[in-house]
């Protein structure tokens, strides 16, 4: 059995699975139940100046029978008094000293505000701080959350103010609602952050009710934009983690967040450079006990790979993630349809004919049945046919390498010589 413990920027955790700041970490009752279930840490629901929430608050994207393919919320930070939260953090930490408790914080961009809250939460024994520069709704209208997180100079300044008084590691949680997340990640590092976490939720509107024309969710007929999360955002989050992991100027640990539902997702984030992961939507959908499968699955995976520690996984895919211009133009994949498995549904034929390179031939045999065949010389290896194929193994992509290696960048260098 592998060692799943991590040391995240000095915060020790028995496993890499933390609950992200959000509804599941609203109270001591919930966090203690989560620790009992096996979570290694919890980022307490964001603490800050008192707020009042609206009702209703959540909505989900249900796609072709899949519930919660994406999730949207317009809930704000904790609406409970700070002292109540601090008391519960203190009690929880006392009861679970080996579990990591991180306080998520959001206050106005003023030095004295940051100093005040940092001192208060550290006094009750938190293991670290997470600065919430990410929430895109509500708080952003008041200059906090994503409104701060979209301006690199504000990220740097507020991180610096926090670090002036913080005695525990400071994690800066970044918003994905920005063109280049490395700009704010770099600003956080410049401000002295010990780590970054990403991504917070993405600006979203879940939908429109076609009968009432109300936006979803609606509050007495009115709506507002929310924060999108859940499985649908995972590819966006994974790329942003990768971009930061690749950047040599951002040399601080990353906590991966965004659509993580199981151990596989977690392993992918860690391979892409995250030292640990945070989960919220999946816990809201399936409950705290999903962590049991996450722990077992990750353990088995590490055993299969012959790894003795989860830390051996961190960043292993980062060197494989390149700029487009560094990819080999001579590498080729070609589709092959396996007639033994093909059910002749024609999905690949239609997709290739309408949206790709017209390289699948539909041959009518003497007995009247059809056979689908790839014209290999025309196949560019786009993968569309294998993506739309409903039968596993009916279409394989065969790879071949060219005589030599040539990237776009190498090619452009060559052309300059003429």
């Amino acid at each position: 059995m592998a060692d799943l413990s991590i040391d995240f920027a000095g915060i020790k955790s028995i496993n890499p699975f933390w609950l992200a700041s959000g509804p599941p970490t609203n109270t001591g009752y919930q966090v203690q139940r989560a620790f009992e279930a096996g979570w290694g840490g919890a980022v307490w629901k964001t603490l800050g100046d008192p707020i009042i929430n609206v009702s209703s608050r959540f909505a989900s994207l249900q796609y072709k029978g899949q519930r919660v393919a994406g999730f949207n919320n317009i809930e704000l930070i904790s609406d409970r008094p700070l002292d109540v939260n601090l008391k519960e953090i203190y009690e929880t930490k006392k009861k679970y000293p080996k579990h990591a408790i991180i306080a998520s914080l959001m206050v106005e961009p003023k030095q004295e505000k940051w100093h005040e809250i940092v001192k208060k939460v550290e006094a009750v024994g938190v293991d670290g701080l997470e600065l919430n520069f990410g929430c895109p709704h509500g708080m952003a209208e008041r200059g906090m959350g994503a409104a701060s997180g979209q301006v690199p100079s504000l990220v740097e300044k507020q991180t610096y103010w926090t670090k002036e008084v913080a005695e525990t590691p400071v994690i800066v949680k970044l918003t994905p609602n920005i063109t280049d997340i490395t700009a704010t990640a770099y600003a956080a590092a410049q401000g002295g952050a010990d780590a970054i976490s990403m991504i917070n939720t993405i600006n979203s509107l879940m939908g429109i009710d076609l009968d009432t024309w109300n936006t979803i969710p609606n509050i007495d007929g009115l709506g507002t934009h929310g924060g999108y999360c859940g499985p649908a955002v995972k590819p966006i989050a994974l790329n942003m983690v990768g971009e930061c992991a690749l950047d040599p100027e951002i040399h601080i640990p990353i906590s991966g967040i965004g659509g993580i539902e199981d151990w596989r997702d977690a392993a992918e984030f860690m391979l892409m450079g995250a030292t640990g992961v945070q989960v919220c939507t999946a816990a809201m959908h399936h409950g705290f006990r999903i962590v049991e499968d996450m722990i077992d699955g990750l353990n088995n995976y590490l055993d299969e790979k012959g790894l003795s520690s989860i830390m051996e996984l961190v960043g292993k895919s980062v060197p494989k993630y390149k700029k487009w211009g560094d990819l080999d133009l001579n590498y080729q994949v070609t589709a092959h349809i396996n007639p033994d498995k093909c059910i002749n549904c024609n999905k690949c034929y239609i997709a290739c004919e309408d949206a790709a390179h017209q390289c699948i031939e539909r041959i009518t045999k003497k007995d009247g049945t059809t056979l689908l065949k790839v014209q290999e010389e025309d196949c560019v290896g786009c993968n569309l046919c294998s993506i739309v194929c409903p039968v596993d193994g009916a279409i394989d992509m065969h790879e071949s390498k060219g005589e030599n290696h040539m990237t776009w960048n190498e090619r452009q260098e060559l052309l300059k010589t003429f």
Partner: protein, 75 residues
């Protein structure tokens, strides 16, 4: 299939260019593809010709061949 046939013709011309060792003077790439200027010196006279490559595979093939030629020179 049509594009592949165009590529095969381009490939033939590129192979000839390389095989005959005609010096490439310039390669200009623009919105319409690649225009390769090369010099033919035969029977005491020289002439510059332009070869228009339309297909992406053709453009890739040309630079692959030139890259390999350069590598051979270096070796």
């Amino acid at each position: 299939m049509q594009e592949y046939e165009i590529f095969l013709k381009e490939k033939e011309q590129i192979d000839r260019l390389i095989e005959k060792d005609y010096p490439v003077i310039s390669i200009e790439e623009n919105l319409n593809g690649a225009f390769v200027s090369y010099r033919i010196a035969e029977n005491g006279s020289s002439e510059t010709r332009i070869f228009h490559i339309l297909t992406a595979n053709g453009r890739k093939y040309l630079t692959n061949k030139l890259l390999m030629k350069n590598q051979r020179v270096i070796e």
